[in-house]
């Protein structure tokens, strides 16, 4: 009995003390005590943790950097490939747009047969205006065939090899096209120049030409089919002392940005040279 009571008392006292401490801790009264008591432990724990982390990084980070570098290189390669693909696709899209426009033009004129060709170069001589296309006699192209785009007349085939052809543009200084001014039905001669400008010549003085009037091929001379658009009159030069008036024409085709053309296959140019009278000796 004597031994049981003090033990019970001890237990009760212990429970009261523990409960009191818990209550004090839960109510926040022991926070300053804990702060002071735990600070050394926290400091030591922090130091220990920092050292461990440093040690771990020392052994693991170099491997990660190598991995990251490898991954970065892979991704950079992938980006380069994708950029190349984007450029290729943009290029293909541009080509497809041009070909669709040419196809629409060809479908709108079922009476003609066309061969589409890509422009692959220009004449190395800067004084003359010729282009080189990637279709030749193997594709049925012959000398003299007219070349057009959906915008208008480009020129005619000047020389042909098996796989390529050279086209004389209408803006070439040596080019001459028989044309017709649409509104007045007046025939005239369209000639190129060194600068790539095209001019109407041999227009009679009594014909009234306005700027903006359409100029079409007349078909005279047999070099080009009739009624192919060439451009619009920009300015008219008229002098009382001249026999004819002249006019500059804005071509419908942008000759600096030619990428694809159509060769008119079913037009056979007529050689009228033997019919031109020569002076008798």
């Amino acid at each position: 009995m004597k031994t049981t009571f003090p033990r019970l008392l001890q237990t009760v006292v212990l429970l009261v003390v523990v409960s009191g401490v818990l209550l004090l801790a839960l109510s926040g009264y022991l926070a300053p005590v804990f702060r002071v008591a735990l600070r050394p432990f926290i400091t030591v724990q922090g130091w220990l943790s920092n050292r461990y982390m440093a040690l771990q990084e020392f052994f693991t980070v170099p491997r990660d950097v190598a991995l990251l570098r490898q991954r970065n290189t892979e991704l950079e390669n992938q980006v380069s490939q994708l950029q190349t693909q984007v450029i290729q696709l943009q290029q293909q899209l541009r080509e497809a747009q041009i070909l669709y426009a040419l196809l629409d033009f060809a479908r709108a004129r079922p009476e003609n047969e066309y061969v589409a060709a890509a422009v692959i170069g220009r004449d190395p001589n800067p004084f003359i205006q010729y282009i080189i296309i990637d279709k030749g006699s193997d594709d049925g192209i012959r000398h003299g065939m007219p070349v057009i785009t959906e915008q208008g007349l480009v020129g005619r085939v000047d020389a042909v090899t098996a796989g390529a052809s050279r086209i004389q543009l209408i803006v070439d200084a040596n080019s001459a096209v028989n044309v017709r001014i649409q509104s007045t039905q007046t025939n005239a001669l369209l000639s190129g120049s060194l600068t790539g400008d095209i001019n109407l010549q041999e227009v009679p003085q009594d014909v009234v030409i306005q700027s903006g009037e359409l100029v079409l091929t007349s078909g005279l001379g047999g070099d080009y089919p009739a009624d192919v658009l060439i451009g619009q009159v920009v300015t008219v030069r008229k002098s009382d002392t001249d026999l004819f008036q002249t006019a500059s024409v804005q071509p419908a085709v942008d000759f600096t940005a030619l990428r694809a053309v159509l060769v008119v296959m079913n037009f056979k140019p007529v050689d009228i040279v033997p019919l031109i009278p020569t002076p008798s000796h």
């Binding site: 220009r122 001589n125 060194l194």
Partner: protein, 166 residues
Amino acid sequence: MAYLLAFPVFIILTMAQIGIMSQLHLLHGTGDLVMIALVAWTLHERGNSAWAWAMVAGLLISFVSATPMFAPLAGYLILTAIVRLLRRQVWQAPLLAMFLATMLGTIIIQFIYLIVLKGTGTPLPWQESLSLVMLPSFLINIILVLPVYVVITDLAHLVYPLEEEE
């Protein structure tokens, strides 16, 4: 080997000329890669291969160009003769000779083109030809001299290694 080398070199240069250089304009002038390469080779070669190079370049350009009467061939042969003459006079300053020969070459070649075209009836006014074609082409060719000279110099060192070491 120097003779055979003319074919791949000028085929590549002619393709670059009609595909790229002819589309890069300054006013209406364009650069002449083939002519500059021919000038550079003529200044470097040790023998008579420059004549063969001029023949190859002239025939290739005559083939692709609509310029009448083999004018490029005649132009390149005349240019080669002048550059060989020039090489003997200013041999100690090859870069100076290169610039001088390119300037002369541009004028000679373009003048021949102009004369031949005018002779065959193409209406080309002198003043516009000079200001819009010849002078801009002259400037582009001057810009192209150094890069072409470096490439052709390396090529010449590959072909003539022993002569260079002497």
